[in-house]
Symmetry: C2
Amino acid sequence: MASERTIGRLSLYRRALLRLQVEERRPFVYSHELAGLTAVSAAQVRRDLMSIGYSGSPNRGYDIGELVRSIAEQLDDPSGQGMAVVGVGNLGRAIINYVSRQRPRLAVGAAFDKDPDKAGRVIQGCRVYSLERMPDVVREQRIQVGLISVPAGAAQDAADRLVAAGVSGILNFAPASVHVPAHVFSEDLDLITTLEKVAYFARVGKGSER
Amino acid sequence: MASERTIGRLSLYRRALLRLQVEERRPFVYSHELAGLTAVSAAQVRRDLMSIGYSGSPNRGYDIGELVRSIAEQLDDPSGQGMAVVGVGNLGRAIINYVSRQRPRLAVGAAFDKDPDKAGRVIQGCRVYSLERMPDVVREQRIQVGLISVPAGAAQDAADRLVAAGVSGILNFAPASVHVPAHVFSEDLDLITTLEKVAYFARVGKGSER
DNA sequence: CTCTGTGAAGGGATTCACAGCG
DNA sequence: CGCTGTGAATCCCTTCACAGAG
């Protein structure tokens, strides 16, 4: 129902809302306030909230508590979703670290690396397994999402193994696109490419977004 | 001239082309081959190349060498562009490491951290300065792009300092949107948000892209 | 009044589909 | 033939603008 862009923004809204709830003890927000906090237009915010079927009140705005619950109902799996990281290099370690520190509803439950020396270690509360163990571990821990942080040349193999093991979502940090079957969702998050884009617009100019 | 999306893909194409050039010694590619390597449609590839004014030949495809040069002409600053990282935590270190390992045309020339103990150290060939030194260092090294990898609460301050120091592009990894003046290009690259999006589509399904 | 919810309009980006060429 | 280059069509996303509600 909700589009890819909308889902991304819902996650953004939720974080802003939680911050509002904790820092100020505010019970309501207007669409334009939420917009300001997330660098999105007010009309866009209303559209997005409409798409999850949540309604605010014209004179008080949106009830923050209820809204957070509505968003959670969309985004979160009630039984929790596990994730696994493939590739425990610098970037992989930083990701594990970062994600567990932010404590979202998603936890990195396992890591995999082809280096046998790394297997058996525990990084940031996350055990490292050999690639061969992937099918078992993924099944046992009901892992649905795989993060790929291996070198470019190994990315497709990592994706294939993840798919074979049964994950249905992949976030690929490697500087190479991976191909997956149609039933698997995959997103490439390419640092170098993004960096080159920013450098380009830093040079030729093109106002910021919002 | 070229749109934001197109610029991102040009960077993608270049990387694929360079790999083709090195690994196979192929002189030409067809749009559909380049498309397969980058998870983009063939028509899209042709459109993008058209937008930078490069023309292929109907029977041999595109000359890889010339095409790489054409893309470089668009993307790269002939005199080089410097970058700086603000926030030398786990993520910041991984970024410095990762970027310098990939050796793109962009080099991280300096890092900044508010922790005085970190100032003076050198990480992966990159010196860490105190935040106060930013204006000088940015000017001296002609740094145009700033990467923000500080905690959410410090992101806007980091952005303000970077802008004041004179950068014209910001890539923000912190989980909070930053606001910058219109003449500065800024992109938020939010790991948690992206992760939640992948987890969502892993759960509810929605074929992969391409 | 100032807000929300939303039909309608607008704007981009992507794909279609085909002419033209070697 | 099979490819490129490209107008036209399509699709999706965002914004406009206003009715409706308190």
